[in-house]
Structures are given as C-alpha cells and as structure tokens.
C-alpha cells in the first residue's frame, strides 16, 4: 500500500535532522552552565541537577541530582574533550555541536534549526490537517479504544499487527504520536521561548505557565530527554517490526502488507 505521501516523508526526515541538531546544539548550550534550577532565578547552592568535576588528578565527574551525588566520570561532568584530554564538560564533546566548547556556535546552530523545525512542523500540521493524514495517524478508531488493553499486551509481547490490521496505526502508536505532536513538541517550543528575556516581555504568561525562567529551562531539558526516549523507542520498534519495510515506507512511500497470514479482522463485531 502507498502509506506515506511525499510531504509526510520530506517533513519526517527534515524533522529528524532538526531534532538531532537541536539536541546536540542544545547540549552544547547546556554545557555553558551545566546546572538546572526551579523558579524565577538560579538558586546556585541548591540546583535540581548539576554536573561538575573534582580537583583530583585525573578529575572525576560528579553529577548531583536532587542533592544526591553520583560518580559519572567519563560521561558527565568530566570526559575526554575534543583533543582527548580530560575536560570539564557537562555532556561529553561527542554529544555536542560543535564538539568543542563553543556556546556561541551552539546558539547559532540551535536558533537556525529551531526556525527550520518550526517551519517544517507547521507545514506538516497544515498538510496533515488538509489531507486527512493527521487523522489517519493520531486519531484512534472506536474499536481500537475498546481493545486498548489487548493492544498493550500485543506491544509488550512484541506481536505486531499483520494483514489488514497493519494498514492502520495501532492505538498506542496513535496516542504516542498525538502526545509528541500536541504536548511534548509544543511545550518544548514554549519553554524555549520562555528563556528569551524579550519573549518574556512580550508574553509574560510564559513565565506564569512555567513558574519562571529557570523552571522553563528545566522543563526544556526534561522535554528534550522525553523526546530522546520517544526516538529510541520509535527506532527500536522500526527495527523490530521490519526495518526494510518501514524504511522503504518512509523513503519511497510504499509499505508492504504481508498477506500470508489471512487476517481475522479485529473489528468490534467479531470480537463482541
């Protein structure tokens, strides 16, 4: 079946590129002050999370989360810099863009790809609404809601729908996409905007929404982490449910429905 129209495919990959660059340049920006707080201003002596390095030789990386310290040498707080020497970095240089400590470089990348992300996302939403693709992708059908429990079990046992049932997205998939599209990503954008002093002047409700600029920064970080989690699960399921078929689908639009197993249509009627 022809599953993914060209606009969906193009915006999907453009979005993937944007999110990757935004993540890596975002970690670069985070590294300029690798600590998070809650509220209007920074409470330097009581961060929610902080990464630092010790005076030892070689230095140890320490990550403090809600007052509990963890040794994260080599990963967080202290890791090999771009030149291989131990460096005082929040996140390691191979995760940041640019790889060297370079706040202004990170900001340039971040803002450019933030605009690209927003424009691309707007195109996706407009196209998705007009073409009915969005409905197809995120709105569960009635019988799907009724069999929500069964669907969870299928997911946990990694049994993927086949035949006719594979022609539509399953209920958990739809709800997850809806959550990402209508909660995670918009909150991420708003939290990003709330960190801008000029945006706070224009739209003070941003500060009310997030309980202050430092909270907004923390929310921005947590949303980024949740998006990473989404991508990890998304890619894992792409791999497990037929990598080549899925990739062909998102590259060319064509997705093969396996007919070998004659499907017992999982409709409300037959089950009821």
């Amino acid at each position: 079946m022809f599953r993914h129209p060209a606009v969906i495919r193009a915006t999907h990959w453009a979005n993937a590129l944007c999110l990757l660059v935004l993540l890596m340049s975002g970690l670069q920006i985070f590294n300029a002050h690798p600590a998070l707080y809650w509220g209007k201003a920074s409470t330097f002596d009581a961060p929610l999370l902080a990464m630092s390095s010790t005076e030892d030789d070689p230095p140890k990386g320490v990550t403090t989360v809600l007052g509990r310290a963890f040794d994260t040498t080599g990963w967080l707080g202290s890791s090999a810099g771009a030149d291989g020497e131990p460096a005082d970095l929040g996140f390691p240089s191979w995760l940041t863009l640019p790889s060297d400590q370079d706040l202004t470089g990170g900001r340039s990348w971040h803002f450019f790809f933030a605009w690209a992300f927003v424009l691309n996302g707007t195109l996706y939403l407009f196209y998705g609404l007009r073409s009915g693709q969005l409905r197809f992708r995120v709105v569960p059908q009635r019988d799907q809601i009724r069999h929500f429990g069964a669907s969870i079990w299928e997911h946990l046992t990694l049994r993927f729908p086949q035949g006719d049932e594979a022609k539509r997205y399953n209920v958990i998939q739809k709800l997850t996409y809806a959550l990402v599209l209508f909660v995670l990503l918009p909150v991420q954008v708003l939290a990003g905007l709330a960190m801008s002093p000029a945006m706070d002047a224009a739209f003070p409700f941003l500060l009310t929404l997030f309980d202050g600029r430092q909270s907004a920064r923390t929310v921005h970080f947590v949303m980024a982490a949740l998006l990473v989690l989404f991508v990890v699960v998304h890619v894992a399921l792409v791999l497990l449910s037929g990598f080549w078929n899925n990739m062909r689908g998102m590259l060319t639009g064509w997705f093969v429905i396996d007919r070998k197993v004659e499907p017992a249509p999982v409709t409300g009627k037959t089950r009821a």
């Binding site: 640019p98 340039s108 000029a198």
Partner: protein, 312 residues
C-alpha cells in the same frame, strides 16, 4: 522497476552521505564562512520577529523585593585591572565622570554625584546570562533616554555605544585580523563574559564564580606593553536606548553598585541578555555605525562571534 531501484540507491546514498556529514563534517561545516553566515540568518530572524512582537514600550517583567536573589552573581570582569580604574575606585569614584558625546548637539560630562541628582528609575528585574542562569536584583539609575534627550541627538544618530573601563585583552597582537583566532592572551576563552557574561561554562551549580576570570590576566603591564588594550564595549540601537527600563544604574539592591557588578555605573537593558549590559561604563558615544570600532561587530563579545541582538 529500474526507476524505483535507482531512486532507492539514490536515497540510500543520500542518507549515508548525511550520516557522514553529521558525524565528521559538522565541525568543519560550522567553521566554513558561508555556513556560519547561513546559520546566522536564524539569529537575524530572532531580531526581526522580536522587533515585530515587542513595541518600543513593552516592559520586561518586574519582580517583588522578596524575589531578589541573595547573591547577585557577578560574571566576566569582577575587578578591572586597569590603573586608571583602580585609582577611581580607591577614591570611591569621587573623580569619576560619565562622558556623553558623539553625534549629539550638546555633549556633556557628569560626575557620579551629579548623576545621582537626576530623576531616577528603580526596578526589580531578572538578569539572564547567555550561559543560562538568572539572578534577580533591584537597580536604581538614570534613564538613558533622559541623558540622550539632554544631549540632543543629531539626525544621523543610529546607535549608542558604551565604552568601559575594563581591559579584556592585551592589545599586543594588534589588529587581530579575525575573530578570536589570534588571541593568545588566554583571557578570552577562560574569560567569560567580559563585562557581563558569555562563555563561562566550567563550573556548574555552585557558580560563585572564580576569581581568575576576565581581565585579571590582562593586568597593569598592558600600558607598558605598548599595544592598545581592548576594553569592553557594547552597542545598542535607539529602540533599546530609549526604552523606559534602559537605565545607567549606580545602585544595586539599595546600595552603591559594587565593583564586581560594574561600579560606578552599568547599563541595564532588561529585554536583553547579560552581555549587552555593559559594566564600568565610562563614556556614552552616539554613532551612525559601529563598523569602525573594535572588529566592527558592535561589542566585545560580538567580536568573538556572539549575536549583536541578544533578546533570546
């Protein structure tokens, strides 16, 4: 069929190329001039859109006294090494004068005592460092608009420059061709935020800033070395200059401005990040263009690659 295959080959090739570019080439790409310029369009868009969203009088949020941060973290230069400045500080800035000049009809000089007699504005506002942290402080000072009105801008006036007392770099490696590639003084990378902020990184949570930052290294021998020292400077346009919350502050939290925070006079530019808010302001110069000043980007950190517009 063959069309399909070739398309697939093309797509596979393209994604492989993209992956390689991501892994190895991003840094190289990020250093290419044309690409840097392309990325900068994102920051140009920030300025364009924010100027559309904000009126000239849209105020930055103001806070309650209870919100004032117990410690207002200083950043960048915390104790200017310059002899002239040290002498002024020793005399409690009694001999300090602010100069207002450039493209104005009536240039003037005012002592700190005279500045204090002018109508003042007090505001409790949040200071946002480009590094990511924030602190809230109470500021009292003279609205810049009043000073500029008094000086009477000439029609060509477009920007207001702030020339500061603190030396950031030894001028030895003169006319340093391009951005930051030349400095070996060590002060820039370490040194965050000149005056007011960037780059500090390094330490995390406990940010009570180390003493080794900023101009410290660029110490007194500057004068002796013969090079012209690079002092902190900044520029803003007239929209920001005439904004009601734009003040030259001489008090912080009800006390005379401490040296670490920019004594005797610093700029507060509340809808912008910290590095725009020059400390140790000595001279206000109205200009038509800043292309001939420093490396021509409009400020010390701008010359190191930071965006001229810092509303985000």
């Amino acid at each position: 069929m063959s069309r399909f295959l070739s398309r697939r080959v093309l797509l596979t090739g393209a994604s492989a190329a993209a992956a390689t570019a991501m892994l190895g080439g991003c840094d190289r790409l990020g250093n290419a001039e044309w690409f840097k310029r392309t990325l900068k369009t994102g920051e140009d868009a920030n300025l364009f859109v924010q100027r559309l969203l904000l009126t000239e009088r849209t105020l930055a949020p103001e806070f309650a006294e209870a919100d004032i941060s117990p410690v207002f973290k200083p950043n960048g230069t915390e104790d200017p090494p310059d002899k002239g400045y040290k002498a002024l500080a020793k005399g409690k800035f009694a001999k300090y004068h602010l100069e207002v000049g450039g493209l104005v009809e009536a240039p003037f000089r005012l002592s700190l005592a005279e500045l204090r007699t002018l109508p003042a504005r007090t505001q409790v506002t949040r200071h946002d460092c480009v590094e990511g942290w924030s602190a809230i402080g109470k500021w009292t000072g003279v609205p810049l608009a009043d000073l500029l009105t008094r000086a009477k801008l000439r029609p060509e006036a477009r920007f207001v420059m702030f020339h500061c007392a603190d030396t950031m770099d030894l001028g030895g490696d003169d006319d340093g061709e391009d951005d930051g590639a030349t400095d070996d003084s060590g002060s820039q990378e370490e040194a965050p935020a000149g005056n007011a902020n960037p780059n500090m990184a390094k330490q995390s949570g406990g940010g009570e800033s180390k003493k080794d930052s900023g101009g410290q290294q660029a110490s007194e021998d500057t004068a002796a070395s013969g090079g012209s020292p690079v002092r902190y400077y900044e520029s803003i346009d007239l929209v920001d200059a005439f904004h009601p919350q734009t003040i030259l502050a001489y008090e912080m939290n009800g006390q005379p401005l401490p040296v670490a925070n920019g004594a005797p006079l610093r700029l507060r530019l509340e809808r912008n990040l910290g590095y725009k808010q020059a400390k140790y302001v000595m001279r206000v110069e109205v200009v038509e263009s800043f292309a001939h000043i420093g490396e021509g980007k409009g400020g010390y950190w701008e010359d190191q690659g930071y965006a001229w517009y810092a509303g985000i």
